[in-house]
């Protein structure tokens, strides 16, 4: 029986094949919803990654659409210097400067009270 394998090609197993790597799965719960990150699966290639994503994130009919992305293909940015700069950059926000602290300081200096909101007729 073992000799039946005599015709086996001598070439070694492709080292690159069969190496597991992580794939990120995004799922859409129903038509019109955004794609949300669901989790990840380990797979050696895209075809099996999609199969496994289907099993993990779709077999109970909990998804109508899946995206499966090799984690290594994702361009990563998590640098706090770039994403959370230390200086006040609130002027870049749509709302402009945050005025609450400055107003409070000006009132303090001039001795005024914070005006109370009108409640009904005075």
């Amino acid at each position: 029986m073992g000799e039946a394998a005599g015709a086996v090609e001598a070439e070694p197993v492709d080292e690159a094949a069969g190496v597991l790597e992580p794939w990120e799965v995004f799922r859409q719960e129903k038509d019109g919803d955004p794609m949300r990150h669901g989790g990840s699966v380990m797979a050696p290639d895209a075809t099996l990654a999609v199969h496994y994503a289907r099993e993990m994130y779709g077999r109970r009919q909990e998804s109508v659409h899946l995206w499966v992305v090799r984690r290594a293909d994702i361009h990563d940015l998590a640098d706090p210097d770039l994403l959370q700069p230390p200086l006040d950059r609130s002027f870049k926000k749509p709302g402009g400067y945050v005025m609450r602290e400055k107003l409070a300081a000006a009132r303090e200096a001039s001795g005024q009270q914070k005006p109370r909101a009108n409640k009904g007729d005075r």
């Binding site: 029986m1 073992g2 039946a4 394998a5 015709a7 086996v8 090609e9 070439e11 070694p12 197993v13 492709d14 094949a17 069969g18 597991l20 699966v41 380990m42 797979a43 050696p44 075809t47 099996l48 199969h51 496994y52 289907r54 099993e55 993990m56 077999r59």
Partner: protein, 270 residues
Amino acid sequence: MTESEPVERIAMDFTDAGDGRERAIALLLLSMADDEFVIGFSDSEWTGIGPILEEDVAISSLAQDELGHAQALYRLFAEVVADGRDADAVAYDRPAEGYLHARLLDHGRGDWAATIARRYLYETADAARLAALAETSFEPLRDLVAKIRREERYHLMHVEAWLDRLAEAGGEPRRRLMVALEAMGPDAGTVLALLPGEPALLRHGILAEPFAAVESTWRARVDGTFGRLGLAALPATRDPGTARTRHSHAFRALHHEFTMVRGSEAAATW
């Protein structure tokens, strides 16, 4: 034709009512249900021991799908035969020799390559059989076949992906695949072997074409794939007359296992 007698005897055992049409439908349903049940139960043995966690979940889910198909087919069989048995009684309360699954499924799950070889041969044959039933005149079966085919599409994609990988990897994976295919090859065609009720199935529009024609379609598909992968062509079917009878010791062991819990307390309500 004397070789076919055991199947006919089993077929007669479950109904002495109805015309040839009902008997032929019952025999077809039972053979399909037993195929799905046996491969489903057998593949479920991978639960917890799959090659990787993701594949463990995948093969377990596929096995559950097959058991689900078996359940639906057993229910339909029970309705057609109407002898007081429900789907569970049909599935679990027969002696080992009363099962009509194809001899291909008497090969145990084996190693991963054997499981893939068996799944590939069975799923492709089953797909050809389901295609020949897609327009069946027996309406409940037509509805069921439409649902089953939608799930089997994914099953085929899964097993073809694995077959390609094992065959193209070379070395040990390819060697194991070839060993499994050589052992199972002569039994592969048993899934599409002639059923005694075939003339009635064709006459009443239950089956679109003879099993021999379904088998040719299936062989052309498998030959194409095996040719592309450099695998040896499938041999002719061995002993087609006993394609669904005289089951192996491996099946008797499996039967003992899947009837054990239900058999432990015959009067119990589960």
